[in-house]
Amino acid sequence: MGTAIITSQLSKDYGQGRGLDYLSLTVTEGEIFGFLGPNGAGKTTTIRLLMGLIRPTHGTATLFGHDCWTDAVALKHMVGYIPGDLPAFGGMRGHEVINYVAGMRRDADLAYATSLAERFELDLRMRYREYSRGNKQKLAIILAFMHHPRLLILDEPTGGLDPLNQMEFRKLVHEVIAKGATIFLSSHILAEVEETCDHIGIIRNGSLVQVTELDTLRSMQRKGVTITFEGSVPTERLSALGNISDLVTTDTSATFTISGSFSPLIAALQGANVREFASHEPTLEEIFLSLYGTK
């Protein structure tokens, strides 16, 4: 497998501390890379740099070995893009919008675009301004996918879609991945990234916090634990453990989070009458919050 995206020390300075700081990441061909971060973290700036819409202050970004700024035109044949803010097509009808964009790029597969419109149940006879937010997003999906791109750069791709269409979108993503495409997906919807992506990168204040496989990230993070006791709760022994936090106890139960090894906890429970022990994997949201701390 080759590399689809390489950024090296990629930076964009908007002044006043805003922008992107020395981002270096690699996305392998054929994978789905989730790009997570709060508002203003630098996700859209990264995407605009990859799309050659803005010029980096420092560093480079390449897609399939081509520079994103100097080889922008050649690259666009290989890239499909859903922008974060959908363009305003005004009174154009859905089919006119698709034809308009297809006319600009000349490599669109209109039969495939028709099938996508059927699949997402989008009425292409309607005017763009009459579309709901979700329907506009469906049209953006068609525009991004209709030329069978090797790389899809998607900025919040399911915004406004209902759960059924979100599911349809995830199916579509897996279909194009099966055909060898690569996806770079920025999202706030953690469940979407959790269900879709192989690797994730987390960005905060313009800097990359972490890039890892989802499973690895989960294993590194804390787990939620709830223990129900037959007798009294060994609160003092639990409190003394260095790797647990958020301890909440009742007369018969204790709920807390634990990071790292379970061995100290097992040792601390020696002699206690445990009736039920439950531990759950953290959701990505919990991981996200643990990395960022409180908002």
Binding site: Y14, R48, M51, G52, L53, I54, R55, A72, V73, A74, L75, K76, H77, V79, Y81, P83, D85, L86, P87, A88, F89, G90, G91, M92, G94, H95, E96, I98, N99, Y100, V101, A102, G103, M104, R105, R106, D107, L110, A111, A113, T114, A117, E118, D123, L124, R125, R129, L143
Partner: protein, 539 residues
């Protein structure tokens, strides 16, 4: 009044007040220079103004006492301002009703508990307050500046002219917000309101210029406005017509408020219900037109293009029809004959050149400004980002924009001027086709000069570009108008785009002007290409 409502009008206030002040103050201080200081020189000046005013009779009424400062200022200043203030009223009215809906401001206010009627009335009275302030400021400064001439204006006359101007502005605003209830897109609403007001203005022009059509004046707010001649010595302040304008404004505003109560936010008042939604999905077929770069843009603007062609053709046809009647006046008066002698050919054809191509220049420069404004908006609404996400060179986008504009200017000019030419033939105005179409072709470099300046600026200062182009249009007009009066050197007069165009119908190509326009076009295109290549998009 809420400060934010007033704040929304700050650009309109500044621009319109500046134009109005330039018009009135320059006319005032130039009066003693061009009219002289003796009674005899002013009498002679008045006579020459009356002669030249014949050629503009289609646009503004004949002057009253043009040998006095008040009469001259009324003709040269306030009668032109009745175009500037209604233009502001149209932009502000359509913006208040539809522009703010498109931006989501209205829905935000409605969900915050503001009643629809309350919102509309607040916006209307906000505009009334700001326009009153502007007109009062212009009147005050004009009155003060008249002291420099030695013959100060009568304050009552200034107040009367200002009240009439406000009444006209208010009525135009009311009509605009009423019309805007039916058109859900801001640009369409302002376009339709603008066309309705232009037609009402032309009704007044026609009523003034055609025998037996004077009754039509009662159908036009502009006809009512022109009944007040308070600024001229001995002129009247026509209370019934001013009252009628104010009542029209209030009635239209009330009508708009009633319609607003019955329509959905963001929708037209009369909604077309789809009788049948096809079950079968549409199969996409590649469009050949949309694959051709320049044609693609022209095709997507086909409705706008049709509206512009219709509006310009109507204006030209009215001008041609009026030219015939005006030419008859010229032929019966030796002094007036002399005025058009320099134009050669028939007096009517000479008038068509003066008025027809003058109007074409003005309207095409406005058309170009609207297109440059669209380029600026494309940066904000994501369309430029979309275009650059496709495999297209950045410079190609600049070239496509310019060739598209060139094509649209060509289509508008050719169609409307050809229809005007055919109409001229029908009404017996004999126009020479060769020079006529040469003058039409010269409109291309004229329009592209504005376009290329816009293209060069829009990449780096998108929001200011339209203001700069509008200022350039106004300055060009004043340079064209004032350079002969103040006997400024040619190089200053040639800074005006209108001077660079020349008088190709009777004078042939002004090669110096054409060369200057080509230089501007070339430089503008180069800068536009370079700026587009370097710039960041969507930030």
């Amino acid at each position: 009044m809420r400060p934010w409502i007033l704040r929304l009008h700050r650009v309109g206030f500044a621009a319109t007040t500046a134009v109005a002040l330039l018009t009135t103050v320059l006319s005032t201080i130039s009066f003693p220079i061009i009219a002289g200081h003796t009674a005899a020189s002013r009498f002679a000046f008045g006579q020459s103004v009356e002669i030249s005013a014949q050629s503009l009779a289609w646009l503004i009424p004949l002057p009253t006492s043009p040998d006095t400062l008040g009469g001259f200022l009324l003709w040269k200043g306030y009668d032109f301002l009745c175009l500037a203030y209604p233009f502001w009223a149209v932009m502000a009215g359509a913006g208040a009703v539809r522009g703010d809906e498109e931006r989501g401001i209205v829905s935000q206010l409605l969900t915050a508990g503001v009643a629809r009627t309350e919102y509309l009335l607040k916006r209307a009275f906000g505009f009334a307050s700001v326009s009153v302030s502007s007109i009062a400021l212009v009147g005050l400064i004009t009155w003060i500046s008249s002291y420099t001439t030695g013959t100060p204006l009568h304050p009552g006359g200034v107040v009367g002219a200002s009240i009439a101007l406000f009444a006209l502005t208010w009525s135009c605003y009311g009509l605009t917000i009423l019309i805007s209830q039916e058109f859900s897109i801001s640009r369409v609403a302002s376009g339709v309101a603008g066309i309705v007001l232009i037609l009402l203005f032309l009704v007044s022009s026609y009523a003034r210029s055609s025998a037996g059509a004077a009754w039509l004046n009662y159908l036009s707010p502009f006809g009512w406005y022109y009944r007040t001649r308070a600024l001229a010595p001995g002129g009247i302040f026509d209370i019934p017509s001013v009252a009628a304008l104010l009542i029209l404004g209030c009635a239209a505003t009330a009508g708009a408020a009633v319609l607003y109560r019955f329509r959905d936010d963001g929708a037209a008042t009369i909604r077309r219900i789809r009788s049948h939604r096809p079950e079968r999905p549409l199969t996409l077929v590649a469009s050949r037109i949309l694959r051709i770069p320049t044609l693609r843009g022209v095709w997507t603007h086909r409705i706008l293009l049709s509206i512009w062609i219709g509006a310009i053709t109507c204006t030209l046809i009215i001008l041609v029809d009026i030219a015939r009647g005006t030419a008859d006046i010229f032929t019966t008066n030796p002094a007036l004959q002399a005025y058009l002698r320099g134009y050669g050919g028939s007096p009517a054809a000479g008038l068509v050149e003066v008025t027809g191509f003058g109007v074409m220049q003005l309207l095409l420069s406005i058309f170009v400004i609207t297109q440059v404004s669209e380029w600026s908006i494309e940066d904000q609404n994501g369309l430029l980002e979309l275009a650059l996400s496709q495999p297209r060179h950045r410079r190609a986008i600049v070239i496509e924009r310019l060739t598209q504009l060139l094509s649209m200017v060509g289509i508008i000019s050719f169609v409307s001027l050809t229809l005007a030419f055919l109409d001229a033939d029908l009404v017996g105005v004999h126009i020479l086709p060769g020079p006529y179409y040469l003058a039409a072709v010269m409109l291309w470099p004229f329009a592209m000069t504005f376009a290329c300046i816009g293209a060069a600026l829009v990449g780096s200062i998108p929001r200011l570009t339209v203001i700069i182009l509008a200022a350039l249009t106004v300055i060009s007009y004043f340079l064209y108008d004032l350079a002969p009066i103040f006997r400024w050197p040619d190089w200053i007069a040639n800074l005006s785009m209108y001077t660079l165009y020349g008088t190709p119908y009777h004078g042939g190509i002004f090669f110096g002007g054409l060369f200057a326009m080509c230089i501007i076009i070339g430089l503008g295109t180069l800068i536009a290409g370079k700026t587009m290549r370097e710039r960041s998009v969507g930030t």
